[in-house]
Symmetry: C2
Subunit: 288 residues, 2 copies
């Protein structure tokens, strides 16, 4: 019995930040018949969420939020979507919000993971466990093995193990959710710029003729960091990721099975097939 | 007694690839009165090297090269300058060159370091030890401590230790000679794109308002990889590095003392002073 099943008569509050992931979670929960309410963050969430009967709250209105969660008898919350560090002007901080804001500011120099872990504690203190997307919408989690119609060459999978080890080595530094590798040669490492900008860079290096191995066997590798708070921050790929990987001339995409979300999986598979890219879910060693 | 002193009556052959480093090495050796000859690689070295009485050879003319080294009684060779993987069209392979080319092609899938180690062996087999820039022109090696007039904040140096640890963690993967960090948060990691492109990316992230900590205390960290073949591939910074770090809005540059070369150090210091950037040589722990 999963955590979500345990409370299936009470709704889960979907707290929505930016991007398309909130829509995917709503869709999956609705399809599975799991009760939910939608809370959207002003200035960050997609305005289209209004069509899903969302309650809009500003960042900092934690008092209002907790009152809403109690009123609706929520069994827990799930935090989804891209959370760029907000402009202070978009915040409206209520009385309870202030008590947490100090905690936030005290810890703002920590990395994203540490910050998120503290924010989760705020909800737990109020009696609302923070669930992960994998708990409330397991349909979105990448499975193992070949996804789509193109089979990856065996040596691409072998080389990916080394690329994932590189990502593991970066985890203690709270950076690096993706690399681009050609065989065992790592050509690009993702920092704050994000996966799309990294893929654009690889396309540029290709134009300059500076790719190893004739640029034939490039792969985007994407994995969760070791110790990453998967409950609030799971890596995501979607159809655009595939299009950009194709634009960078890569041969395929290998994601970590069970720890990466597949957004709009049908479109992802169509995009991969159209571009002739393989897509593969690689299960990591049990060691981590 | 250094290796260079041991042979001070016989010239060192400076094998010149691209960029400005060959000029700096020639200048330093001339100023120190050390004998040398200049060999420039066609299609890769700066044509201006002709003014320094260079002998031009194509890539692959190893038979001609070894004959020249013997004729001039060279005590050793030093390989300097940027060596992008060459277009096959620029190669003219002589009989002896062919015997090595097979070794090269057999190992082309290895990383840069492994490739360079094999190339060094070719020279050593012929009786010409491969010296490092640090051996023949120690004046170019970055010293320890503050360089220039701006003193770095103590906490910038402390944070740099963590940044260097991140570079260490990447070394087994033969990638990462530089990162940009804001305090302990690593924002960009250098891959095949090089330091300049990484700095341009940080400038872009700044424009998008996505830098941590108000973007106030950014530092470029540059170090040699653990186990890097410093004899043939030492990281280099020059005046342009400083200008681009300033363009990315960074507060300073911290390089690894004794393992990074300072190109045109007078201009570097002037550029740093003009931009208000600190420049600091940090000695790494003895562990590595």
């Amino acid at each position: 019995m999963t955590k979500a099943d345990a409370h299936s008569h009470r709704p889960i509050a979907i707290l929505c930040a930016g991007g398309a992931l909130p829509f995917a979670v709503v869709q999956a929960m609705r399809a599975a018949g799991r009760p939910f309410i939608v809370v959207a963050i002003e200035g960050i969430a997609d305005p289209e969420l209004s069509r899903l009967d969302a309650t809009w709250l500003a960042l900092g209105q934690l008092g209002k939020l907790f009152a809403l969660l109690r009123r609706e008898s929520c069994a827990g919350v799930v935090l989804v979507g891209a959370m760029n560090r907000p402009a202070l002007g978009s915040m409206r901080i209520d009385a309870i919000g202030w008590t947490y804001l100090f905690d936030f500011l005290r810890n703002v120099r920590l990395g994203d993971d540490a910050m998120l872990r503290r924010m989760m504690r705020w909800f737990e203190i109020q009696g609302f466990p923070v669930l992960g997307v994998a708990d409330v919408a397991p349909e979105l989690v990448a499975p193992e093995g070949r996804l789509g119609k193109v089979t990856p060459p065996a040596k691409a999978v072998t080389a990916a193990i080394r690329g994932f080890a590189c990502l593991d080595a970066l985890s203690p530094f709270d950076v690096g959710q993706a690399v681009v590798a050609f065989g065992e040669r790592i050509v690009a490492i993702e920092g704050a710029e994000g996966t799309d900008a990294m893929l654009a860079r690889v396309a540029e290096i290709r134009r300059e003729g500076r790719l190893p191995r004739g640029g034939q066997d490039g792969v985007l590798l994407k994995a969760a960091k070791v110790g990453q708070s998967l409950r609030v921050d799971m890596p995501v790929i979607g159809p655009l990721t595939i299009e950009r990987a194709a634009g960078a001339g890569l041969a395929g995409v290998i994601i970590e099975a069970h720890r990466v979300l597949l957004l709009e999986s049908a479109s992802v598979l169509t995009a991969a097939e159209k571009a002739g890219l393989f897509l593969f879910g690689l299960k990591r060693g049990e060691v981590r």
